[in-house]
C-alpha cells in the first residue's frame, strides 16, 4: 500500500515537473507591434508567414537558419532582389521550397492559401494594418485563428527599424540576438552623430531612388529615406518638395538647386530597363558603367556633383532592412569625408557579416564614381 502511494506520488511529481518544464519551454509571448496592438502567442513562433519577403534579412540577423522559420512568404524578395536571393539559395537550398502566397506586391496576397499553411504567426507590413491598403488580409487571418503582428521597415524605417527588429526577435524567441544587434546599430548611428557635432556645413544632395529608369528624378521626400539623409548631415534637395515619403522632381529644379553630392540607388530590379545595377551579382566595371550612364543623361554634366566627381551608387534594397545602418554610414562619409574619416561602411559590413548575418553580404553595395 505504502509502496503504491509512494509510486503514485512519484508519478504525480513527474507529471507536475513535466508540465512545468514544458511550460518553461512554451512560455506564452506577449508583444506590442508597431501598429500599437498587443498580441499574445502561445509560444515563440517556429513557422512564420512573412508578407514582406525581404524581411528575411532581418531574420538572418537573428537566427542561424532563417529559412527554417518560413512557413510561407510573398515572392517579392525573389523577384525584386534576385541576386540577394541567389546568395540565400546557395546557403539554404530549401528556400526554393518555401510556399509563395503571392507573386509580388501586397495586393497579390492569397489569404486562403495563407490560412491553409497554418503558420504560427503572420508578420505583415503596415500596409496591411488597419487603415492600410490591404487591411482585410489581417482581419481574415485573425478570423482564421492566425495571430498577426505588424512590423515596419518600409514606411518609416528611421523610427521603426529597431522596434520592428525587436518585435521579430520576440516573436521567434531570440531577444538576446536582437539586443546585441540593436546595441551595435545604435553605437554606429551614435558615432555618426558624434562626428557631426562639430560640423557646420550641410552639403546639398540629390538622392535619386531607382536611378536611371524613371523620369528625372524620383527622390525621397522629407519622410522615409529623407530622415536618414538628414541624420547623415545632408540637405536633401527633394525634402522641401514633399513632406511625404517620395517626391518627383523636374530636371530644371535639380539644375537650379545644383546639388553638391549625387547618390543614385539601384539593384538587379533595374537591370532590364537600363537603370543603375549594384549589389550582389554585379562586378565593379558593370556597376561603374551603369552609374556613369546615369549621370550622362541630358543636363547632368552641368551639376556641381558631377563636375566635382561626388557621384555615388547605393544598393537600394538595404534601405528597408535593419542593414540601413550601412547606407547611413556610406551617406555620411560621402557628405562629410573629412569628419567621417574613421567611419568605414566596409568594415562595419565585415563585422555584421562575421557577428550577425546567417547569410553574409557579398559584393559591392556602395560605390564612388571616380
Amino acid at each position: 500500500m505504502a509502496a503504491r502511494i509512494r509510486r503514485s506520488l512519484l508519478l504525480a511529481l513527474v507529471c507536475v515537473l513535466a508540465t512545468l518544464s514544458a511550460r518553461a519551454v512554451a512560455q506564452p509571448v506577449t508583444v506590442t507591434d508597431v501598429a500599437g496592438r498587443t498580441v499574445t502567442l502561445a509560444q515563440p513562433a517556429q513557422r512564420i508567414l512573412l508578407a514582406e519577403g525581404r524581411q528575411i534579412t532581418a531574420l538572418a540577423l537573428l537566427h542561424p537558419d532563417p529559412v527554417s522559420l518560413l512557413a510561407g512568404w510573398l515572392g517579392d524578395f525573389r523577384r525584386n532582389d534576385s541576386e540577394s536571393y541567389a546568395l540565400y539559395r546557395a546557403r539554404f537550398p530549401a528556400i526554393d521550397a518555401v510556399p509563395v502566397i503571392g507573386v509580388g506586391n501586397d495586393g497579390s496576397f492569397a489569404v486562403e492559401q495563407a490560412i491553409a499553411i497554418k503558420p504560427d504567426v503572420a508578420v505583415l507590413g503596415v500596409s496591411f494594418a488597419p487603415g492600410g491598403r490591404s487591411n482585410d488580409v489581417a482581419r481574415q487571418l485573425e478570423a482564421a485563428g492566425i495571430p498577426v503582428v505588424f512590423t515596419d521597415f518600409f514606411v518609416n524605417p528611421f523610427d521603426n527599424t529597431i522596434p520592428s527588429l525587436r518585435l521579430l526577435a520576440q516573436v521567434i524567441g531570440r531577444d538576446a540576438q536582437a539586443d546585441a544587434y540593436i546595441a551595435f546599430y545604435r553605437a554606429h548611428m551614435q558615432r555618426i552623430s558624434d562626428r557631426l557635432a562639430g560640423v557646420k556645413t550641410r552639403p546639398t544632395i540629390l538622392f535619386e531612388t531607382h536611378a536611371g529608369v524613371s523620369d528625372c528624378c524620383h527622390a525621397p521626400g522629407a519622410g522615409n529615406i529623407g530622415r536618414f539623409i538628414t541624420f547623415a548631415g545632408g540637405d536633401s534637395i527633394s525634402a522641401q518638395i514633399s513632406k511625404g515619403p517620395t517626391a518627383q522632381l523636374g530636371l530644371e529644379y535639380v539644375l537650379t538647386r545644383d546639388p553638391e553630392v549625387y547618390v543614385g540607388t539601384g539593384g538587379a530590379h533595374l537591370k532590364a530597363t537600363g537603370g543603375l545595377v549594384i549589389g550582389p551579382g554585379f562586378d565593379r566595371a558593370t556597376i561603374l558603367a551603369r552609374l556613369a550612364a546615369v549621370v550622362a543623361r541630358p543636363g547632368f554634366a552641368e551639376l556641381k556633383a558631377v563636375r566635382d566627381k561626388r557621384v555615388h551608387g547605393l544598393f537600394h534594397n538595404i534601405m528597408a532592412t535593419p542593414l540601413n545602418l550601412l547606407a547611413t554610414e556610406a551617406l555620411a562619409r560621402w557628405l562629410h569625408p573629412e569628419a567621417m574619416k574613421d567611419v568605414d561602411p566596409d568594415a562595419t559590413m565585415a563585422e555584421i557579416n562575421a557577428r550577425f548575418l546567417a547569410v553574409p553580404m557579398q559584393g559591392i553595395y556602395w560605390i564612388d564614381l571616380k
Binding site: A247, L249, E252, T256, A272, E302
Partner: protein, 354 residues
Amino acid sequence: MTASPGPAASAAIAKAYGRVVRRRAVLLAVLGLIAICAFMLDLGTGPSNLGWREVLRGLFDAGALNGAQSAILWEVRLPQALLALLVGLALATAGAEMQTILGNPLASPFTLGVSSASSFGAALAIVLGIGIPGVPQNWIVSANAFVFAFIAVIVLQSVVRLRGSGTDILVLCGIALFFTFNALVALTQFLASQQALQQLVFWIMGSLSRASMDKVRLLAVVVVIALPFAQRAAWPMMALRLGEDRARSLGIHVVRLRFMALLRISILTATAMAFVGTIGFVGLAGPHIARLLIGEDHRFFLPASALTGAIIMSLASVASKSIVPGVLIPIGIVTALIGLPVFFSLIFRRQGDA
C-alpha cells in the same frame, strides 16, 4: 425656290463662300499665332528664374547663359516645349482623322484602344523587363509602346480589310481592344513590385520630363511627313464626311482612303505616345474644339485641329510646371484639366446658338 440659281445668286453664293474661306483662313492664322505664343510662354516658364528674355537671348547667343542656365534651356525647356508642341500636333491630327473616317465623334486613339496597347507595351518593359531584342535599354520602353500601339492599329486595319466599310464593327473592335489591353495592363500591375508599379503608373499618366532632342527629332520627322499627306487627303475626307455612298459616287476609293488614314493615325499616335506616355484628351478634344471654331471643311479643320492640339499641350505644359514649383505634374492629368473648361464652354455656347 427656283430649280437652279441665276448668275446673280451664284455670284452671291461665291462671294459668301469667299468670305467664309477668308474668315477661316484668318482664324487659322490666329490659332497659329496663339500656338506660337503658348510655345514661347512654355519656353519661358520653369522653376528656375530663367525668364523668356534670357531664353530668347540664350537661343540666339550661345555665350549669353552660364553652364547651368544653358543646360536648363537646351536640355530641359527646349526639348520639353518642342515635344509638347509636336505631340499636340500629332495626337490632334490623328484624332481628327479618326473621327472622320469612323464617322464617330467619340473616336480617338484613346477610345479605340491604341493608347491602352501602348501602355501594355510599356508595362511589359517596365514590369517584366520584356523588350524587343537589339533595342538599347534606354529605348526599350518607348520601342515597346510604339510596337504595341502599332499592333493595335494593324488589328483595326485588318478589320477594315476583312469587313470592308462597316464603321460600327471597327468601333466595336476598337472598344474590344481597349478592354483587352486594359486587362493586360492590370495583369502586369498585379504582378509588379512597388517600384515597378510606381514607374508604370507615372508612365501611363504621361510626362514631358522624358523629353530629349533625339525624341524631338524623331517625332518631328514623323509629323512633317504625315501632316502633308493628311492635308492632301482633305478633299476626299470631306466627301466621306458627307456620307460613304456620296463619297463613293464621287469616285473615292473609301476602303483605301480609310486604310491610308489609319496608317497615318497609327504612326502619329504610336510615336507620340512612345515618348510621352498616354495623353488621351488631346486626341479627342483638339478636333472637337477645332470643329466648333472652324467647321467641317477639312482643308481648314485638319490644320485647326493640329494647332489646337499644340496649344492645349503647350498650355498644359506651362501649367504642369507652375502648379507646384519644382514638381512636374504629369502632363496627362493637366491636359484634361486644362482642356475640359474650354471644351465645355464651347459645347454650351454652341447649344446656346442653336
